[in-house]
Symmetry: C2
Subunit: 267 residues, 2 copies
Amino acid sequence: MEEERYSHPMAEGLTIGQAAAFVDITVKTVRHYHRLGLVAEPERDHSGYRRYGSADLLRLVQVRALAGAGVPLAEIGELLDAEPERFATALDDVRRRLTEQIEELMGRRDTLHRLAHGDRALLPDRACAVLERLAELDFSPDYVTTQREALVLSRALTPEVFDLFLANLEHRLDDPEFVELTKRGWEARSWDPDDPRIEELASAVAANLLGVRALLTLPAKRPHGPDAASRYGVVNHHREDEAPSIARLNGLVEGHLRAAGIDIPRQ
Amino acid sequence: MEEERYSHPMAEGLTIGQAAAFVDITVKTVRHYHRLGLVAEPERDHSGYRRYGSADLLRLVQVRALAGAGVPLAEIGELLDAEPERFATALDDVRRRLTEQIEELMGRRDTLHRLAHGDRALLPDRACAVLERLAELDFSPDYVTTQREALVLSRALTPEVFDLFLANLEHRLDDPEFVELTKRGWEARSWDPDDPRIEELASAVAANLLGVRALLTLPAKRPHGPDAASRYGVVNHHREDEAPSIARLNGLVEGHLRAAGIDIPRQ
DNA sequence: CTTGACCTTGACCTTGGGTCAGGGTTCACG
DNA sequence: CGTGAACCCTGACCCAAGGTCAAGGTCAAG
């Protein structure tokens, strides 16, 4: 009776396809595990097919459970061959890693949520409020967008002056003259860079700004490092390339302010 | 003043390293995004360095937010260039995917938790209870292990007989004679396969089993397909290769049962 | 005797980058 | 006015964890 069992070549175990279905993975994955030495190669039958016995299947189940939990394949081998206590410790480790991953993903989901509902991902609430106020004051959407971008850049590149920038916007928006001058400045985008009205406007803007000198004073703790200047440059001259007239306007205003003793970084 | 800006080659924007630090990624990653066309290559300065302006930085921030949320890089490009409403829909989609991922990870963590606390990942509670009972009845740990493996295999490979297998164990463990015979059977592992005591033991075991014929009747719904026999074989002859005497004992018991009219699959 | 479903090996593709090699640029210090 | 450190450039290869394709052998059923 038993000899018959061994003389029947087909019954010596499961084929790779059956074994793979057993642990719910693909045939290719099983072979991958063999190549990595994670699961020993089983005996082959007379035609070269792998034949899986119970021990192989159990091993596959164990490997799959760990791999499915995110344990790198390279670690699974030694882990399964370790003593029970080390195994238990390692399992706990894996569980902690999983928990961390879950929390990180939840954080990302929140970020995305905020991204979907405006710019709350990139800017603090105070800045969002200012942007909403800009829209209420009937500034053009393009202007609001440009200011939003400038805020984002300032926050990231020159955090020391971000608060100053924000405070400026917050306070100046209460000043109807400033609002009016700024809207006119935005219209200047379409002017010729040599338009004489630009100089006039620059003088008016500078005078208005100089009305509250406290808001023009950079913090004593000036930024450091050789890239400080280029960071200022990126923020200060954001989008100027789109409108040369604006570049000229800004340059003139800066000149006025410097002439009045205000410390404005060059570039 | 402005000419000076443009005549100063170094101030035309941030270098790749500064830009990368800005969005908190590596230089290599930024270049990777360029190669994928996700972020347009910025202008180069006179020495061939990439120089990043505000628009580039904003784009990098957006790309990073999406990539960080798990959106495949290949999709990010068209997503960012899509109209706002399609973008919003896509964002919602991404959020759903993230939620799914989180739930899957939590499921894995649970699985791992059960894996760490015994075999509850692989076996139903009823089976775990039986295994605990085996330990209480003072069966050797090796025997318990072997039975556990047999249960796992049976559940996966021959689910139609798994319940029968389990019911058998549950009921027979109340029978002191069965317990005694089984322990003796386990000791037979170390006997010579030709030991005459094996035949004796096989008769006793068969007689005991035949005491409750209901537990020996396979379900009418027998398994299907050409691999049914090999599946039975794997379960029935699990670990026999380790002890030829056990193989002989099992064979003899099967013979007795068949002689008594019990339907036992061959192989 | 053919058909279709398996099995075998081997070589290359994928994603999101990391690492190495070989060379050019810029900057601050002495 | 060097010189060293810290950048930058390109290009080529490497990783996990498999997937896909190719070219052929094997098996059971009609």
